[in-house]
Amino acid sequence: MHDLVALTALGGTTPRVDTVGPVTCSEVPDVALASVTARLGHEAATQDELARLIGTATPTAQRFAGDPVTAFWSGPDQWMIEAPIATHEDLAAHVKTAVGTVASVTEQTDAWARFDLRGDGVNAVLELLCQLDLRQFQSGHVARGAVHHIGCFILCRSADHVSLYGPRSSAGSLHHAVLAAMRSAH
């Protein structure tokens, strides 16, 4: 039982990397995630505690902030917290300690698969994948939307770097959709 092999969301022992033209899609398995939802009547207190946790103001609607512990907005009074798994493997417990009783925390690490798109032609790929208004989709912006009927979080880290979070159980379908869009666009 103690000789388990760590597999990525796509089933490999190393993260998958695909390059088509100027765009590279890479699987990013080394991220810990936890969701935070403010409890009724404690919305402002939750924002205060999150700000302390990430070291900067808690992100408002459609924004993300913080490094290396990042919070991104996922809905009204809800945030997802992401951090490197090497330093924050117990992220949910860490976040729960930070927010105490003002918010509810759920471990999300293995619920999601992350793919990072890098390169000059990222927007051309996103245009095919989702319905986002890409003129508004600037650095620091996060959106939740459908990519090939799969509900995803899409984070714009910079003009040529986008992170996609999709359900881990649909990682293969999402990866297929991203690759198809990359081949169509470039």
């Binding site: 009724l40 009204p76 319905q131 939307g145």
Partner: protein
Amino acid sequence: MIINHPLLGPRDASEFTYLGDASLIDRPDGTAENAADAFYDYAYLRDNPAGEHRELWYHEAGDRSWLVVTRNTLTHEISKVELARDVARTRGRSK
């Protein structure tokens, strides 16, 4: 059709699913004396206005929020979009 989400701005109607009349927010008290009658009204009786209609929409392929959309059933014009939780709270729900 475009629904102007109060937090996210204009989003395509294909991201939303429709539930029904916004009066579904006013769920009767199940422990009241007249609960059976109240639930009969709540479950089966609806107004069917030709004109302004308040309805519940769910942003399924988005931030998963429930919205109350005021839509004219004759012209399909959307005159108002609110977060359903705000509407429910102003009616004394979700305290």
